[in-house]
Symmetry: C2
Subunit: 422 residues, 2 copies
């Protein structure tokens, strides 16, 4: 009988012999400790020890990437970088995401043997689906609620991030829905501050969105940022439902996996998972975890959308990382007959009509949100022209028509390309 195992991949940097370093990782996170203890029998090790499944040397570095690492006695003085895959029997912890995190991350990044240790991927057995629901809506459900098919969902964000009253927020939403956007989100800084209480904001905004839907038939999706403590989030969700809203948003790092699981079980709406703070974990190549690993935890917990930055974004993330994250969101976590738990990648940060073609070329799909702030609001002919330009740019990308050629028959696109550089 094959016992299901959890796999975790890491990039490590160490002055210790690689085999020894990898064995230390496996021991520390399962049956071992700094010294072998009496209860660590061969039988117990056989059933519960983590295994080193793969170890590939990648190169060397001249200096340690992180402080505090040790040097082995009698070592060869070289500091190697390697890819390590460890595995654990799922029976060590059961299919529990909080316990998984303590097992695959936990104390590992504090071990003295390493001057670099980053979690790069996770492969989980489907038994986790017995306890976690995964995304409730995903790509298909989000498209159905947003009424957008066969093209990206065009989104935007409310700015300034904080300071607008509920009424001022609703006024901005009036402009945006009038411009033809499919999706609007709160900023992650705006949740339930006393100057813009959640319930009042959502009521004011949804009045505008419902009015627009009655006139046009289009119910714009509004991701209401309900990030907060647990009772607050559940009550705010109910208020969004009561007002006819079709999406909620929560900052993943702010609320944690157990709160997300509870929100997912309670929610009647897609969950827009905001990754702010991910840079703390993801930006350094020497420590933390990749977005590839990170988003799998949150997909299982139940998010339907997440942010991946965008091509040529204004943050520090390079394009290949952006695209790897976006593709991963659309890649099944489990094989059939299990659900794949695919979610909607959200491109944002400095996006305009210029990025449609390279994004489509790299992603190979229109299953995404494409969010622009300035790319819509700062269009020379106004926000409606901004939205039209984005759709024209994506239509051209999908049709394989170069964007400058397409712009000759599309004045909004032509103006956007002129306004947003190239």
């Amino acid at each position: 009988m094959t016992v299901p195992r959890i796999l975790a991949r890491y990039t490590i940097e160490t002055a210790y012999p690689l085999e020894q370093a990898a064995t230390t990782m496996a021991g520390e996170q399962s049956t071992g400790t700094f010294v072998r203890v009496p209860g660590e029998t061969d039988e117990l090790r056989e059933a519960h020890a983590a295994r080193v499944e793969e170890l590939v040397e990648l190169g060397e570095v001249a200096t340690p990437s992180l402080p505090g690492s040790g040097l082995p006695k009698g070592g060869d003085g070289r500091r190697r970088v390697a890819a390590v895959t460890l595995s654990w029997p799922v029976a060590n912890i059961g299919p529990s995401l909080p316990n998984l995190l303590a097992t695959v991350a936990g104390n590992l990044s504090e071990l003295k043997a390493f001057s670099g240790l980053k979690l790069t991927d996770l492969v989980l057995p489907p038994v986790f689906l017995d306890r976690y629901q995964g995304p409730q809506f995903g790509v298909a459900g989000t498209r159905r609620l947003a009424g957008v098919h066969d093209r990206p969902i065009i989104g935007t964000i409310i700015k300034p991030s904080v300071g607008l009253s509920p009424e001022a927020t609703a006024e901005q939403v009036r402009v945006l829905v009038g411009a033809g956007v499919d999706f609007i989100k709160d900023d992650e800084l705006q949740s339930d501050g006393p100057h813009c209480p959640f319930d009042a904001r959502i009521s004011a905004v949804m009045r505008v969105i419902r009015d627009h839907a009655e006139r046009t038939g289009k119910l714009v999706m509004y991701a209401a940022n309900l990030t907060g403590d647990i009772d607050e989030m559940l009550a705010r969700h109910d208020h969004v439902v009561a007002e006819g809203g079709t999406c909620i948003m929560a900052s993943m790092n702010s609320i944690g996996l157990p709160a997300m699981k509870m929100l997912r079980a309670h929610s009647q709406l897609p969950i827009h998972g905001h990754r702010n703070g991910w840079g703390m974990l993801g930006r350094s190549p020497a420590i933390g975890m990749s977005f590839i690993a990170y988003q799998k935890l949150w997909r299982l917990a139940g998010i339907d959308h997440t942010h991946v930055n965008g091509i040529d974004n204004k943050f520090c993330e390079p394009n290949d990382s952006v695209i790897a994250s976006a593709r991963e969101c659309l890649t099944p976590m489990f094989d059939p007959p299990h659900p794949g738990c695919e979610i909607v990648p959200v491109f944002s940060s400095g996006q305009s009509a210029r990025q449609a073609a390279p994004t489509f070329a790299a992603l190979g799909s229109v299953d995404c949100m494409f969010a622009a702030g300035g790319g819509i609001m700062a269009h020379p002919a106004g926000p409606a022209a901004g939205v039209r330009a984005l759709r024209q740019a994506w239509d051209a990308a999908v049709a394989g028509v170069p964007v400058d050629e397409a712009a000759r028959a599309a004045p909004e696109l032509e103006a956007a390309l002129a306004a947003f550089g190239g």
Copy 2:
């Protein structure tokens, strides 16, 4: 009228002029965005913009600590390190820890202007105590339940971390309580795996602990690791209470702040906050957050104890960082008449009688847990002698007697010093 403000301190590294870099941080996390938008009025800025309170240049670095940073046009080519203090009106978010995290951390660490950005401290206005309960037991309550006064609480951990059955765990606890320890904790890898279900383990362990208390009058405190999803944690807490237990343990990074708040509101017992995974945030000097900032969030959310490593620990943390963390746990977060929210610092990792004197000298207090594994179990005269040696070492430290001198009248201590180096 003075509006209460939230203060956050950072260490930054940037090739941009420092004033400009600090202003970018303040703008990104409050009313600004990459470009000024129409709704960002002067009145709105006045009421809601983050302010740069202090900016102190600390030095320069030759190369960027993190990838992805940008270079300013026309810059002087120097890359500076500085301490920055920002402040926000609490009215931007209300006294909400999840929203605080999105505000003081959030997207900051992804900003292109920075090749290093680490949150080093937080100062919160007392209005947070309107919504968060802080520690329920703290130092005094933990001492009362553990029955330990005027000296450190001597603790130990169950090893191997995973693999023991409930009965084997209880057998190990039998040895430890017999040895005279005050406190025993589960490993963070052991929660509710199918080979060692939580309820069965706690029942088996508490039977041993209750028997011992009936015979000796000493009820040893056992931190039962209930880390899991929310309903699981609440039910597990109730089981610990039903079995007469006096402590629960949760991995902070695994559960998140809202779940901790809920656990605190539900709990009748002290919460042992395990920081595993903190190295992901804390180890790099270039990114993440200091433990000084981190532990304030969790104290407000309700933990009573947390780990700080120990002097000459086996992980990568230097001694000055260990002691700074421990002292901070005992430092009030708020002035009277508000509660200070002090918690018990837990020293662990490679601790033995050798570390008592330098720990006391640096901490200036016996208000701590002092946890040893090998330092107890591997004592040449057995675990009871190991516990006695630790108490002898602390008695000597408090009395100002050098440990080698004290050992001449204390055979267990003498043997410990011989066994554990020096």
